[in-house]
């Protein structure tokens, strides 16, 4: 299927709103967004955790929400009421995956309402240091930075 009804700009707007909505609702944080993603490079040298999900149908894309390990612990702590020190690695991975799941669910609802046909994969998460995300199609990539106090997140969407 072609991309007539949804361009990257529109998708960008929907994703933005969805990230702010999901993080604010689930954590109580005040989230602000910033279209500048240049710090993403610096950030790749610390331990990173990335929640990932793919979307197929009217749009084929990968959605990734990345953050450093300390931010992710804070986020998951506020989501669950479990102190950061008591969280297991599994909790943090599962939390990041679930956030991406909710995020894509929100955007999917908006797009399906406009007549697009979309299916989604199960979310998963990866972690490590020096993770680099390389996409061939640089044109069709969205990256945004979100901040809430000491917490910093990057959303990256790439058409595949």
């Amino acid at each position: 299927m072609d991309m007539v009804s949804v361009d990257m700009k529109k998708l960008n707007g929907l994703l933005n709103r969805a990230v702010i909505d999901v993080i604010t609702t689930m954590t109580g944080f005040d989230v602000e967004d910033d279209p500048d993603c240049s710090q993403f490079a610096e950030f790749e040298s610390v331990e990173t955790i990335i929640g990932v999900m793919a979307v197929f149908g009217s749009i084929d894309a990968v959605v990734a929400l990345a953050t450093d390990i300390n931010s992710s612990k804070l986020i998951v702590a506020y989501m669950t009421g479990i102190m950061p020190t008591d969280l297991t690695d599994e909790d943090v991975h599962d939390g990041m995956a679930e956030l991406v799941n909710m995020l894509v669910g929100r955007v999917k609802a908006d797009l399906v309402r406009e007549g697009l046909d979309l299916s989604i994969t199960s979310p998963f998460s990866i972690s490590g240091t020096n993770i680099e995300m390389v996409f061939k199609d640089r044109e069709n990539r969205i990256c945004r930075r979100f901040i809430a106090g000491d917490v910093e997140m990057f959303l990256s969407v790439a058409k595949i």
């Binding site: 609702t25 109580g28 702590a77 506020y78 989501m79 669950t80 009421g81 479990i82 609802a109 908006d110 399906v112 309402r113 007549g115 046909d117």
Partner: protein, 287 residues
């Protein structure tokens, strides 16, 4: 793709009008998805197989009980302890010292506070903890605590049920609660936090729709109505500002949310500021 069971624009416009006229709530076009899920239980309860049917049913009913159900279903109850922080700084640094002086001199005999739209209790209990702590550390508790009356109201009897229990989950407790207050006023049982009875007993919870007359509530020194009017139509908002001013004693105080704005308040209130926080003081009687 089967689209005809999503809220159609016609149905949505109908519902939007009902919600604005009967419930006083403005709903943006981007909120259709929220309405769908929030009204889901009413679909089942009224035995409707489509939103259209439900809309027609409630639209023609024009029943206060039904519109209150709709308000309860579609408004959010999101809340935090000490939300925005500044109202409680103002309470502690500006208002309480004055009230204590007035109580001591006999200029006032009690202080009445109203948390209008209190959700699960975080706002009135934050207020109660600040007052209790203020009096406690000055050794004035025995003498003055009974002089403070906190009334907390909400349209939703379900959130009030939660509020009255004074039991909170660890997610809620993490949101805005300073460790000092938590340690002083809560007891932990597993993952449940239980509020001290002395604080719980300071607050009187009642179900109340802000669209109704305030006359029976009496007059207050302070009214908190925070993050409640954000959903309201401008007509209802304007009406409430004037009703709040009438429900306040002379130079009584109104707190609204820090990101909220009042368009027409100058007739009734002066805006004052303290340490970055804004509050509204009722204008004195003009003779």
């Amino acid at each position: 793709m089967n689209m005809n069971v999503n809220i159609s624009s016609k149905e949505f416009a109908l519902m939007q009008r009902y919600i604005e006229e009967e419930c006083g709530i403005s709903i943006g076009n981007d909120k259709a998805y929220l309405i769908e899920s929030r009204l889901s239980s009413m679909l089942g309860e009224f035995n409707c197989s489509s939103y259209e049917e439900l809309y027609h049913l409630i639209y023609t009913k024009k029943d206060r009980r039904v519109s209150e159900r709709v308000i309860d279903a579609i408004t959010t109850n999101e809340t935090l302890w000490f939300r925005d922080k500044t109202p409680w700084i103002i309470l502690e640094k500006v208002l309480l010292p004055q009230y204590i002086k007035d109580l001591e001199s006999g200029k006032r005999d009690r202080i009445r506070i109203w948390s209008a739209g209190c959700s699960t209790g975080q706002e009135p209990y934050s207020t109660a903890m600040v007052i209790h702590n203020f009096l406690d550390i000055r050794g004035l508790k025995e003498k003055f605590l009974p002089k403070f009356e906190i009334v907390a109201t909400d349209i939703s009897s379900t959130v009030l049920e939660v509020a009255k229990k004074g039991r909170y989950d660890s997610i809620s407790i993490m949101r805005g609660m300073p460790a000092s207050y938590r340690d002083k006023y809560f007891k932990r049982e597993g993952r449940v936090w239980i509020l001290d009875d002395e604080i719980r007993n300071m607050v009187d919870f009642r179900q109340f729709n802000l669209q109704n007359s305030f006359v029976l509530l009496g007059k207050f020194h302070i009214i908190f109505c925070r993050y409640v009017m954000i959903y309201f139509s401008s007509d209802l908002k304007d009406e409430l500002v004037s009703k709040f001013s009438m429900a306040l004693k002379d130079s009584g105080i109104l707190f609204i949310g820090s990101s909220e704005m009042l368009s027409v308040y100058r007739e009734y209130f002066d805006m004052e500021q303290y340490e970055g926080g804004v509050y509204y003081r009722k204008k004195g009687e003009v003779l």
